[in-house]
Amino acid sequence: MTAIATIRIQEADFDVGQEIAALTRDRTDIGAVVSFSGICRGSENGEPIAALTLEHYPGMAEAEIKRHADEALSRWPLTGLTVVHRVGRITPGENIVLVLTASQHRQAAFQAAEFLMDYLKANAPFWKREEGLKGSSWIEARGHDDAAAERWTKS
């Protein structure tokens, strides 16, 4: 069977169990499934937040995630992967992003999931705005996310 990348950008929440079931249904060649769920925390840098609002670049976001999903499929022997990124207003404790990878072996599933998350953090065209106690502001990018993404660059 061919490895398939499922990519969705949506306002609605996702269900990790359902997404795993969809990725593994009717297959007996999968030995390892790794999921990463990114969740909205109740504070940023020690300051409480009421919510995040996620903006994205429609069209480019899908295309860029697809390009990196295809790269993951070519670099690791995956049987499939799923990326779901939410947009809109998200409150503490709610899901933001899901990356799922499936493979025969665990190392491929772990590495591909880390690669995709590092990419999403540093290079996918999404922006977070936080609602704090004193109004709202855009979250600043962190240099160590760039460094994390950089480690996957082929030399």
């Binding site: 903006e55 670049y57 860029e64 953090k121 996918a124 922006w127 977070k128 855009w138 600043e140 990018a141």
Partner: protein, 83 residues
């Protein structure tokens, strides 16, 4: 060509997209940022620190020295904070 703005670049410019016709000597993404910055106070504010501005041409990330000839859509935005 169509220009799009996202996040605080969009808020500072005051609009999400517009169509512009830069003169022929505006050849690169960096030239376009310089030209846009002179269109008024809101643009000057949005582009006051060019090194933090990221750009994409037709949905692909580009550097400031990228040529804009043939571009259908150019987007400007701050460093990404998704995931």
């Amino acid at each position: 060509m169509k220009v799009k703005y996202f996040a605080w670049v969009r808020e500072r410019v005051g609009m999400a997209e517009e169509t512009v016709e830069p003169p022929a000597d505006v050849r690169t993404v960096g030239d376009l940022i310089g030209w846009l910055a002179k269109r008024g106070e809101s643009y000057a504010h949005a582009f006051e620190t060019p090194r933090v501005i990221r750009a994409a041409i037709d949905h692909a990330h580009v550097k400031p020295d990228a040529a804009i000839a043939g571009a259908r859509e150019i987007a400007f935005f701050p460093p990404m904070t998704g995931g």
